[in-house]
Assembly symmetry: C2
Homo-oligomer: 425 residues x 2
């Protein structure tokens, strides 16, 4: 992690790159563009300056080339480039002093203009790494998994949760009715949809004050209050005010559309928060869905971990989204994996989920430190919502016990009916 020449502290970024020029040259262009380099040799770039500020290419792992570019480049086409496009995984080391504990400048450095360089026909940020002394200068999650469990009074098992549906359009009173039904079913976690913020027919404050008494009434019965993630996404002032309103009303979680509030906004909320921050990643597909452009989730979750969300969505296996199950599992593992001493994130599975995914999730993660959210898998259970929640919990009991769902279902009718109803949907 340190440059042997100067002992300057560094952080690293790993990329997939595809380029119309040989990999060594492309890597050098990237390292230059993203640090002290200029595309013309200028008198100001002295050796002392380079040694202090210039990024270094620290690793090149060559991959088989291709003969059509993944992404077109008018720059390469003007040069009538034909033939081979070089592929590699590369690592670049940047001086920490170039950036400091500044999220937007960190991103301008590892994910800035480089995506658009004319020689580049594919570029994905695969990972970042940094010394813990640097990582510790960022806020990081305030609650993480343990803090979230403590707030919710749920230990030793996953959070079984759901999303208020229809996503948008319910009045405050209708929302409270649905929350009442979900709490009566002993649910652990409920979240607003990301589309719902403050519509005139269900203003934020009305929803908060309709929902909170319901949560509190069930808390008296359950001995724990179901965690409700109120979507507070909005302007900085609105988010802080809504956070304070949730806190004052006795709520235990706030949610933001992380990508669209943005890094500085979520960081500001994190510095202020007294509640876990539920990070919704809607829009993530635009950053990630092409295999050779944008961000890998491994890098993305590290950025959000530095900023300090506590939970982060990872889709669901066998869900309704385009992502492969392997990718979903890898995402969840990365949230739980060590990273420079920064608190891990609680991964949130949702989309087309029901009891059946529990064994595969547990087998792949070896952990119950997660949220498993189901819509139809809970609300659509033939014996009602309580049986829907119970079927999810039984699925996890079977998974942790290492018993097949079919065998466990013989003595657990809620799970049994879920298997019958949902297996072929």
């Amino acid at each position: 992690m340190h440059n042997k020449n100067s002992c300057r502290p560094e952080f690293t970024a790993r990329y997939f790159i595809e380029s119309s020029v040989p990999t060594e040259k492309a890597a050098d262009i990237i390292a230059g563009e993203q640090s002290s380099g200029t595309f013309m040799s200028l008198p100001g770039e002295t050796d002392a300056l380079k040694s202090r500020s210039r990024a270094r290419v620290t690793r090149i792992d060559t991959l088989p080339p291709v003969f059509e570019p993944s992404l077109r480049s008018a720059f390469a086409e003007r040069r009538e480039h034909k033939g081979v496009y070089h592929r590699a995984e590369i690592e670049i080391a940047f001086p920490i002093a170039n950036v400091g504990p500044n999220i937007s400048t960190l991103l301008a450095t590892v994910a800035g203009n480089l995506f658009e360089l004319g020689e580049i026909t594919g570029l994905k940020l695969l990972d970042i790494d940094m010394p813990s002394t640097y990582a510790s200068q960022f806020p990081g999650p305030k609650f993480g998994i343990e803090g979230t469990r403590n707030k919710a009074g749920i230990h030793g098992r996953p959070f079984i949760g759901t999303i208020i549906k229809p996503s948008i359009g319910l009045s405050a009173a209708e929302t409270a009715e649905m929350v009442d039904a979900l709490c009566a079913a002993d649910i652990d976690f409920i979240k607003d949809d990301e589309l719902l913020a403050d519509p005139p027919y269900a203003p934020f404050d009305e929803r908060l004050h309709a929902v909170m008494p319901v949560l509190k009434r069930h808390a008296d019965r359950l001995g724990r209050m179901p965690m409700y993630a109120f979507n507070i996404s909005g302007s900085i002032d609105e988010m802080l005010r809504r956070h304070d309103a949730v806190l004052a009303a006795g709520g235990t979680c706030v949610m933001v559309s992380a990508n669209w509030v943005g890094f500085a906004g979520v960081e500001h909320l994190r510095k202020h928060t007294e509640l876990p921050i539920h990070g919704h990643r809607n829009g993530w597909g635009a950053f990630s869905r092409h295999p050779h452009l944008g961000f890998s989730f491994a890098a993305y979750q590290k950025i959000w971990r530095l900023v300090g969300v506590d939970h982060l969505h990872v889709n669901g296996i066998r869900g309704k989204f385009s992502e492969s199950d392997d990718s979903v599992i890898a995402s969840a593992r990365s949230c739980l994996a060590p990273f420079a001493g920064v608190t891990p994130l609680m991964p949130v599975f949702s989309s087309g989920q029901w009891a059946s995914q529990a064994p595969d999730l547990y087998a792949n993660l070896g952990s119950t430190d997660l949220m498993h959210l189901a819509g139809g898998g809970i609300l659509g259970h033939p014996d009602g919502i309580a049986a829907g929640v119970l079927s999810m919990r039984e699925g996890w009991e079977a998974a942790v016990a290492g018993v097949s769902l079919e065998a466990f279902a013989k003595t657990h009718p809620a799970l049994q009916k879920a298997l019958i109803k949902f297996s072929h949907t």
Copy 2:
């Protein structure tokens, strides 16, 4: 713009979509997912709720299909989808009441989970539109083109500018020396590089207080102060503090890495600002470079216009980036075009620019309301920086006069030498 059935106010989003299911079905899935729809029929989605909250597909323009998906979908592959992938441009109308004047919820609605839907193998947000009564509820640019011109005392011609290079690594004193040389050359505009925020060897405050006296000294001579865009990107508190420091020191512009500060952060700065906000779009390639994924610039600039940046980067024609010249021109035109009564943005051209691009830019835009930034094209001029700036200005004089650069250069030696030096680079 209004639903004829209910007269509910609406805004619209236009998309390119490619899908494994017929376009009508895919469009309906998107409209449902991004409003009140659920993937299971739920009792709560009443007709009254649908009429209030459900988005409508208002237009489908079918395009020729393809037989390989642009983006893979594990969902479609699990269904063993083979054969045709349907392509179309579609328009969806959303109820304004679903969102309100909330940037992050607007984006969660028009650019949220839809990128990841299993049936979708390509999706680009092409444009958005809205009534001026809705647009006027967002902050919008405080200065725009006229406000920027007034701050800089530059009228009737483009801003000729440059970027401090090397991007990062100079001390505060070295930066001030370079600014002195640029101001002595009568430059209009100078900006920090996006990589430079607050490094220990050139802290923000030191740079500010080294640069400002230089700008003021030249202002006395020029009768106008060259505009310097200080990169204030950082946390919310840092940005406000740095904005205030620039203002107090007599500076006239602040800059942010717009994508990485994020929408709520830049909106917060906009509400506070007394200075034009120079929007740097580094990272934009990750959102845009694939033709069938992410954002078009036409939509992107509208979002930033609602938020309220004053200037926005658009790359340069014949530059070092991958973008085509047609795309660069279209981007600049969109910044200048009317949009729901929101103040236009000043487009900023940079990357591989010199005097030669002026005629093409003027022919395509019919305007000098722009910034034309050159690095090597100014600093690398054989007769020095002043001749570099002069050659750019002469290029624009020729363009506006409708005289060829070659003809104009016969009586303008700075332009003449630029043509000789740069024509074959």
